[in-house]
């Protein structure tokens, strides 16, 4: 008993003060990608040859960034010899629409809160069911980490539950493998309405590193409407938490600034 009390005293309280602070990252942390048009001389297309679908050309031929497709690999920024591509320290990435993750400079329209009715239902108590469908277990590991004493998701009234029938929404991770397609759909159908769908990680958004494999469907299929998109490979737990709290109207401020 004495040892137990001693351990309790030594361990102390470790809960992060987030969202009031607690979001410090080491220097090398790779957050929201940005594109600095002024540093692009427009003569090469090196950035398009990067290892992911982060950079592409918009309909008018200009360069655009898709944070949803970003794998947050150092080589994605290094693909530009002029240093126009860079990773910032900004961990805030979640958005309400797929298109809001795409922009000319990496600016993301961060998630807006649910409407008043949905907030009155879920604002103080949200039960989620996790479905991994063709993932690597990296995103799930960060979802599990959200439950530890540091991030302590439960203090915001959000919990992961054992059955879709007990849930208000699904958190989908993975590129949605062919072998998980029908199980995912049935789990979604088993979740009572109104329900939320949260797509976590590059795989769920566009297939991530497995994009193009005949064994996956490159992310959550269109027939399952998504309410919150959380980029990352995997997203830092605070990226997920920030998205959830914005969705519930617990964090409100403007847009993440561009470069």
């Amino acid at each position: 008993m004495l040892e137990f009390l001693r351990a309790r005293l030594t361990q102390g309280t470790r809960t992060s003060p987030f969202p009031e602070g607690g979001a410090e990252f080491p220097e090398r942390f790779r957050g929201r990608p940005t594109f600095d048009r002024d540093r692009c001389d427009g003569t090469c297309s090196g950035c398009l040859a990067g290892p992911s679908a982060l950079v592409s050309r918009a309909a008018d031929g200009s360069i655009q960034l898709d944070a949803g497709a970003c794998l947050f690999a150092p080589e994605e920024a290094a693909a530009c010899d002029n240093g126009a591509l860079a990773f910032t320290q900004d961990y805030r990435l979640a958005s309400r629409s797929r298109s809001a993750l795409v922009s000319p400079d990496g600016e993301i329209e961060l998630a807006r809160a649910l409407d008043a009715r949905m907030r009155s239902l879920f604002g103080r108590s949200l039960r989620l069911r996790s479905v991994a469908a063709g993932s690597c277990n990296g995103c799930e590991a960060e979802l599990v980490a959200l439950g530890n004493v540091v991030f302590d998701l439960a203090r915001f009234g959000v919990q992961f539950v054992a059955s879709p029938r007990h849930a208000d929404g699904l958190v989908i991770t993975g590129a949605v493998s062919r072998n998980m397609g029908s199980a995912l759909h049935r789990t979604w159908e088993a979740t009572p309405e109104p329900r939320l769908v949260i797509a976590v990680g590059a795989c769920a958004i566009n297939g991530g590193p497995f994009r193009g494999s005949p064994e996956v469907s490159d992310g959550v299929p269109d027939k399952i409407p998504v309410d919150l998109w959380v980029p990352g490979c995997p997203p830092h737990p605070l990226t997920v938490l920030d998205g959830l709290l914005r969705l519930l109207g617990r964090i409100e401020d403007g847009r993440a600034r561009g470069s």
Binding site: E3, F4, A7, R8, T10, Q11, R14, F25, P26, R28, F29, R30, P51, S52, L71, F72, A73, P74, E75, F87, R129, S130, V131, A132, A133, G134, S135, C136, N137, G138, E140, A141, E142, L143, V144, A145, G147, N148, V149, V150, F160, A162, S163, P164, A175, S177, R178, N179, M180, A183, T187, G208, P209, F210, S213, E215, V216, C233, P234, H236
Partner: protein, 503 residues
């Protein structure tokens, strides 16, 4: 003598494919079966399409006592006589060959799908249409009071998908069948077809909790084929990252096991300490799981002197906080009572099935790639092999605790004297028509990446064996005789990767 030693193959070396000429299938069978009977272990066995609609089968074996690796090959048509009846270690490999290459191992006693996908390494002439992913027949036990329990693929917690089918008598499990494949993403085909950097990113995503392990083995195979020699500094940084990954996962596992037996203090403390190790990996690589660090030719990020000294301080503090909690948990009588005797695996079963990693070491089988087939920094800085003998959940916990302490000691020591040299050197083109084998002791056990190049120096076959591929058989073998309600605890004590198995 098995004739395998003469090849001179070692961990992380390459040999010309011509040195492994295809033998008649009967000689190939006999050679593998004899070698396994003499104590060699099947580390990989796979097929790749060859000329004339035939399939080249390659078996890779390891002699753990001497660190030797062996390879033998044969060419088969659409069937051959299965090895499994004489060599149980081949059981899952042969099911995989049947599924990937559409080659039937005749006489295989349990020829069921492994991941449920159409053939992806078969001759062009093989008919792939009409493949039914849902076709799978479960073993059933009939009898009064025998009942069946089906669990998954969507489980109760935040867990990967898999399906477990129990045949039970009351609460007692008579038989457990595990059907996987839900996480199948076509990893091996991507590794074979994507350009090098993209392939490494795929390797980092084979199992998201084993980024360093898989990327390390993948790059080592590429480096062997390119004759690229890493600097001692790069090797040490990779070794440090590998042990940080082991620390994070082992600490997390002890916490998860504590949570499963409702010993909340340890679950909370270990859960937080796991994060400390991930945050150290983030300081070095910019990502909590070490993504972006391991690259062909070395590492993409150096460890600065300031970083090294801060990391040493943080790990020294972690050690001081961790030891009392581990003692608290594993010294608690009610925790011990809950872990002891549950999910026991015998040493004989372990050898027969070719089990690897902590579950093998918990059965007093001192199997550890870092010791038996040493690579990189582990050739110079030895980490003692941690074993226990009872083979149950408690033994697997004790092995983890020992490994945590030894990895902490290793990392703290290595951070104190990083060797010189650049972190990364150029890694050129691959030699044509060669075979390279790279093994790593990931935190779950032996990871194997075997790469075969074609005559133009392109990747012809990239075989991945995650430790979970071997060890899911151990879960199925450890459960009969236990209660269904002990399954979560037993499963957690193995903590295998669904993604790593499913590829």
């Amino acid at each position: 003598m098995t004739g395998l030693e003469e090849l001179g193959l070692r961990n992380r070396r390459a040999v010309p494919l011509a040195a492994v000429p295809p033998e008649p299938v009967e000689r190939f069978r006999q050679r593998v079966i004899d070698a396994v009977a003499r104590g060699w272990r099947l580390v990989a066995f796979f097929g790749t399409p060859d000329r004339g609609g035939r399939t080249l089968l390659l078996a890779l074996l390891a002699e753990d006592d001497t660190g030797a690796l062996g390879a033998c090959a044969t060419l088969v048509g659409d069937s051959y006589a299965a090895l499994t009846p004489d060599c149980p270690q081949a059981h899952l490999f042969e099911r995989e060959i049947a599924e990937q290459c559409a080659v039937r191992p005749e006489g295989h006693p349990w020829l069921k799908p492994v991941r449920r996908h159409p053939p992806d390494h078969a001759a062009a002439t093989v008919d792939r249409s009409g493949f039914d992913r849902e076709r799978y027949e479960f073993f059933q036990i009939a009898g009064e009071e025998v009942h069946e329990v089906a669990v998954g693929p969507v489980h109760a917690g935040i867990i990967e998908p898999g399906h477990f089918r129990f045949q039970a008598h009351g609460e007692q499990v008579l038989f457990l069948e595990i059907m996987l494949g839900y996480q199948h993403r076509g990893v091996e085909r991507l590794l074979e077809t994507e350009e090098r950097l993209r392939a490494v990113l795929v390797a980092e995503s084979i199992a998201g909790d084993t980024v360093i392990g898989h990327a390390g083995a993948c790059c080592a195979a590429i480096e062997a084929l390119a004759r690229s020699r890493k600097t001692p500094r790069a090797q040490t940084i990779r070794g440090i990252a590998l042990e940080l990954e082991r620390l994070a996962n082992h600490i997390g596992d002890l916490g998860a096991i504590a949570g499963d037996v409702a010993y909340q203090p340890a679950a909370a403390y270990f859960g937080r300490m796991r994060g400390e190790c991930l945050n150290l990996l983030m300081t070095i690589s910019g990502n909590r799981y070490g993504r972006g660090l391991v690259r062909p030719g070395g590492v993409a990020f150096d460890i600065t002197p300031a970083m090294a000294s801060e990391a040493r301080d943080r790990l020294t503090r972690l050690r001081e906080e961790l030891i009392p909690v581990a003692d608290l948990m594993l010294g608690n009588a009610s925790v011990q009572a809950r872990l002891e005797g549950v999910g026991a695996l015998s040493k004989e079963k372990c050898s027969e099935l070719g089990i690897v990693g902590p579950p093998a070491r918990a059965c007093a089988v001192p199997r550890d790639v870092r010791y038996e087939h040493p690579f990189g920094v582990f050739r110079f800085a030895h980490i003692p092999v941690s074993t226990a003998w009872a083979g149950d959940v408690l033994a697997r916990c004790l092995v983890r605790r020992l490994e945590i302490l030894r990895s902490l000691e290793f990392v703290i020591e290595q951070l104190g004297g990083l060797p010189g040299g650049v972190p990364r050197v150029e890694c050129g083109t691959l030699r044509p028509a060669e075979l390279a084998v790279a093994m790593t002791e990931g935190w779950r056990g032996e990871i194997v990446h075997a790469v075969v190049t074609d005559d133009a120096g392109a990747v012809r076959r990239h075989k991945v064996v995650d430790p979970s591929f071997h060890n899911w058989s151990a879960v199925a073998a450890a459960l009969p005789g236990n209660q269904i309600s002990d399954f979560p605890l037993c499963n957690k004590s193995f903590n295998l990767s669904y993604a790593g198995h499913d590829l």
